[in-house]
Symmetry: C2
Subunit: 331 residues, 2 copies
C-alpha cells in the first residue's frame, strides 16, 4: 500500500497554496482536475488546513443570469471583508467552450479585484471525475485561505447535484419569462434550495414567478423547526437585491451552525472523501503488473477461485507489509 | 469482512441453475440484475463452473435487423448441436419499452425451441450497473451449460462498449441505405469488429456498403499476423448467408484459441471482475453505522487526518478479524 507519510513532490506546492500564491493555486487546481496520484497527495497535504470557508452553491437554468449574479455576490462579499473564490463548474465545456468564453470576460472584469479568484473546471476523463475534482478544488481554495467559495453550476445532471451536496448554502436562481412554469421546479431543484432567487426581477412576470415559488414552497413538506426558505428578488445587472441576498446567506450559515446543519454537510462530505480515497488506493493495487493481482487473475481464469474470494484475499494481502502488524507478530 | 465461505441461501439456486432449470436461470438473472449482495454470492457459487461458452457479441445501429439476425444465428447454432442463450442488452428499456415488446415477439417464436434461452437485460440503478449485470449474466448462463451465448446490443454508449469487451467474437452489423456513410464507421464500431455483416444484402446499395467496409478495412492499421476481418453478406429475413456467418464465427473462435486471443479476453474479464468485487467488499465496509468508518469521518471533520490516510487505515483495519492472521499471531 502507498505510504501515507513519505517525501512528496506536492508538499512544496501545498505550502505555496497555503500562502495564497495565485500561480500555485492555479497549478494546484490543474493537478486536481487531472485526477492523478499527485492530486491525492496534494489533498492529503491541504486537508488539515481546510474547513473554514463558507461554501455557497448557486444553480439554475441557462439564461437565468447566474454568472452576473455570482460576480455581484463575490464583489459584495469582498466589500464585507471576505476573500472570495469562484468555481464555475462546466460539464459541457469540452464541447461548447461557451462557458469558458463567458468566464474570460468575467475574469477580465474581476482582474482588478485581487481578492476574487475565479476558475472554471471542466470534465476531463471518467464519469464522476468532475465531482471529485470540484470537491478537491474546494478543499484547496479553502486551505488557501478563501473565506467564501462560490460554486456555480447549471442545475442539470448527476455531477452537478453531487457537487451541490457539499455546499453549505444552496441558492437556486429562477427568472421570469423562460417558460410557463418555474424552471427550478421542472429541473427538480426546488428541494435543494436554501434560498430562492428571482433574478431579472424588473422584468414583466417577476411577480408571477415569485408567487409560483411561494406556492410551491407552501405545498412542500417541511419538518417542524426546519429552515424557512426565503425568496429574494434581484436584478443582478444593477446589483439590486444582492445585499439582501448576502444577508440571507449569512443568516442561513448561522442557522446551519446553530442547528447542526454544517456538521451534517461536513459529515456527508467526509464520508464521500474517504470512499473515494479508498477506491483510489484499491485501484492503485489492483492492476496488471502487480504480482498478487496477476496471480489472482490467473487463478480466476483457471476457475480455482471466484471473483469475490479473490478480491477478499487481495484486500487482506494489501495490508501485510504494514509495520504495526509486523511488530505485533514479531513480539 | 464478509466471510468467503459460509452457508449461503444462493447455493441451492446455483445448483438448480447448473442443472439447467429455466425457472432457476430466470430467477438468477433477476438476482444479478438487482445488484444485491446475493448476486455476488450467486456468482461466487457459479464462477468455477463457467468458462466453457463461446460468447458472441452482435452490435450495430437500430434498424440494422440485429434481432432477426441473432434469432437466425441462434437457430443455426442449435441445428449444429449447440445449446444457445441470448442476452439482449437494453439500456433504454426503462424509458421506451420497445425492445422488450420486440423480445416478446421473438420469445413466442423461439418458445418451441427449447434449446434457446432468451432474456433482455435492462439498466436498474447506478452507472455501470448494467455492464456488471450482463457480465454476471454471461457467467450464469455459461455455468448453466449453454455452449454459445449471444450478446445483442445497440452499439452506442460506454455500457455497450464495456459489454462488448467480454465477447470472444464481435459481429458488427451494417445495412445499406441507412445514410450516406456506413453507420458502423460513424459509431466507432469498425475497430471492434472481428466479423462485419452486411445485412439486408438483397437491397439496393448493398454492394456499395460492402465496398465501403472493404475500403475502410484496407485503410485500417493492421498488425502482421492479426485476424483477417471478413465481410459477410446476409439476408437475415430469409436466412441467406447465416450459415457462412456461423462458419466464420467458428473459424474466428479457433483462431482466437490458437493465437492466445481467448486467453487475452479471459484475462481482461477476470481483472474487471476482481476490481468490481473489491469495490463491493469495500463499499460494504465503508458506510455509516460501521464504528471504524464513523470514527474516521469524525477524525476527518476534526482535520486530525486526511482522506487518503483515513482510507488507508480503514482498509488495513478491515483485515484484522481474519482467522489466518489470528492463528499466525496465536502461534
Amino acid at each position: 500500500m502507498t505510504q501515507a507519510v513519505a517525501n512528496r513532490p506536492m508538499t512544496e506546492l501545498a505550502e505555496k497554496i497555503r500562502a495564497g500564491s495565485q500561480p500555485a493555486i492555479a497549478r494546484g487546481l490543474t493537478v486536481v482536475e487531472r485526477r492523478s496520484a499527485a492530486a491525492s497527495e496534494l489533498l492529503a497535504d491541504l486537508w488539515k488546513h481546510s474547513g473554514h470557508a463558507h461554501v455557497l452553491g448557486v444553480t439554475g437554468p441557462a439564461g437565468s443570469g447566474k454568472s452576473t449574479l455570482v460576480t455581484r455576490m463575490a464583489k459584495g462579499c469582498t466589500a464585507r471583508g471576505s476573500k472570495v473564490a469562484i468555481i464555475a463548474v462546466d460539464p459541457s465545456s469540452a464541447y461548447s467552450g461557451g462557458a469558458i468564453l463567458g468566464d474570460r470576460i468575467r475574469m477580465t472584469e474581476l482582474a482588478e479585484d485581487r481578492e476574487i479568484y475565479i476558475r472554471s473546471m471542466a470534465s476531463r476523463g471518467a464519469t464522476g471525475g468532475l465531482s471529485r475534482a470540484v470537491l478537491d478544488g474546494i478543499s484547496l481554495l479553502d486551505a488557501a485561505g478563501f473565506d467564501v467559495i462560490i460554486l456555480e453550476t447549471v442545475g442539470v445532471g448527476q455531477a452537478e447535484m453531487d457537487v451541490m451536496s457539499v455546499a453549505h448554502t444552496v441558492l437556486v436562481v429562477s427568472v421570469p419569462g423562460l417558460g410557463d412554469d418555474i424552471q427550478a421546479i421542472k429541473a427538480g431543484l426546488i428541494e435543494i434550495a436554501d434560498i430562492h432567487v428571482v433574478n431579472k426581477a424588473d422584468r414583466p412576470g417577476a411577480d408571477l414567478t415569485y408567487k409560483q415559488l411561494r406556492e410551491s414552497l407552501r405545498l412542500a413538506h417541511r419538518e417542524a423547526g426546519s429552515w424557512n426558505v426565503p425568496i429574494v428578488k434581484c436584478v443582478a445587472a444593477t446589483g439590486e437585491g444582492v445585499a439582501e441576498l448576502l444577508d440571507k446567506s449569512e443568516k442561513h450559515q448561522r442557522w446551519m451552525k446553530d442547528h447542526g446543519g454544517l456538521r451534517e454537510v461536513e459529515r456527508r462530505n467526509a464520508a464521500t472523501r474517504i470512499r473515494w480515497a479508498a477506491e483510489v488506493l484499491i485501484s492503485e493495487q489492483l492492476r496488471a503488473g502487480d504480482a498478487g493481482f496477476d496471480s489472482a487473475v490467473n487463478s480466476l481464469i483457471a476457475r480455482e477461485i471466484d471473483p469475490r474470494t479473490a478480491a477478499d484475499h487481495l484486500l487482506r494481502a494489501m495490508t501485510r507489509p504494514h509495520t504495526d502488524q509486523k511488530e505485533k507478530t514479531d513480539a
